[in-house]
């Protein structure tokens, strides 16, 4: 099997479950050692780490709430001490407060921005030092809510827009250090969390996607792996959309032609 990431070390924030887990497994399948950052769910993080080790790579879990700068520092102190280098940073951990825009108070705004946007800033600052001379890669996980409006998604959508803008700045300012920085924006991804919310509406969601099915965590992981490969060397500061074509379709038009009645 082709394992271009042998000898590399990846950090996946929020890597214990869902999209982060799929990314961790994909990077490991290409040979990368993986640090799984988690916050709330130690058991699932441990399970993921075990899966990674069974694939023959080194795996370590580190608990840290990426919304707290001191915890990010502690996490990177551990990485510095235990490894002293880092090749790939996946800024995936996310949270958010779902409220109509008029109900978003300062606390909800700060909470969402701190975890979804500021964490990339602080992680990238520490990661850049560990990536010195190693052709590092940074990929942040955004969402289509950065430019599409979804109900009660204001705080998260704005934080994702900030994440994408920061991705562009990092891409340019870290380019001289040989670090490639990009983002991925996906539509609703079929994770356990989402399955709970859309119960009974799976068919409608599938129908609204020209590609004929919903986006899976593995779809995201595949593109992350590409962005972490040398084949993607000339892609910088971009946000790659993974949505099966949903966001380019005009409203009220069916996927098979004609206008919906």
């Amino acid at each position: 099997m082709n394992q271009p990431l042998i000898g590399k070390l990846s950090l996946v924030t929020g890597g214990g479950r869902g999209i982060g887990r799929a990314i961790a497994l994909k990077l490991a399948s290409q040979g990368s050692d993986v640090i799984v950052n988690f916050f709330r769910h130690r058991d699932t993080a441990e399970k993921t780490a075990k899966e990674l080790q069974d694939m023959g790579v080194k795996a370590k879990i580190i608990r840290a709430n990426v919304g707290e700068p001191a915890k990010i520092d502690e996490m990177f102190d551990v990485i510095s001490n235990d490894f002293g280098y880092l090749d790939i940073l996946i800024s995936n951990a996310a949270s958010g407060v779902g409220r109509p825009v008029l109900d978003v108070d300062v606390k909800a705004w700060d909470w969402t921005m701190d975890i979804n946007a500021r964490a990339l800033l602080l992680c990238a600052q520490r990661a850049a030092r560990l990536m010195e001379g190693r052709n590092g890669k940074i990929v942040s996980i955004s969402s289509l809510g950065s430019f599409l409006v979804w109900p009660t998604y204001a705080a998260v959508g704005v934080s994702k827009a900030a994440l994408e803008a920061l991705t562009r700045y990092l891409a340019i300012e870290l380019a001289p250090k040989g670090i490639c920085v990009n983002a991925i924006a996906a539509s609703a991804v079929l994770t356990d969390a989402l399955k709970f919310y859309i119960k009974g509406q799976e068919a409608a969601h599938q129908q609204a996607t020209p590609a004929g099915r919903m986006v899976t965590p593995e779809d995201i992981a595949n593109v992350v792996a590409f962005l972490c490969s040398e084949d993607a060397f000339m892609i910088r500061g971009q946000t790659i959309i993974i949505d099966g074509g949903a966001s380019v379709m005009a409203p009220f038009v069916s996927t098979t032609g004609g206008v919906n009645q």
Binding site: R40, H41, R42, K107
Partner: protein, 81 residues
């Protein structure tokens, strides 16, 4: 400091209320804690006591006393294990 006192400190810091108004029979609503406050309280408790509090469990708490009892029980279980 007892676990109850430590939890009161967490709640009073996050909700910004005097800890003396936090009573076992009182609810988060009584001290005007919103949903984000509650999430932050649970996260801080998880971190402080190194336990997991699944959302399904947290939804069962009728009052502050239930929350304290839950944390005490899980710390005891962890120590036994």
């Amino acid at each position: 400091m007892s676990i109850e006192e430590q939890i009161k400190d967490i709640v009073s810091e996050i909700v910004r209320v005097d800890k003396n108004i936090i009573r076992r029979e009182g609810t988060f609503k009584d001290i005007n804690a919103d949903s984000l406050d509650v999430v932050q309280i649970l996260l801080r408790a998880e971190e402080t006591f190194d336990i997991e509090i699944p959302d399904e469990d947290a939804e069962q708490f009728q009052n502050f006393g239930d929350f304290v009892d839950y944390v005490e029980r899980h710390i005891a279980e962890k120590e036994k294990a």
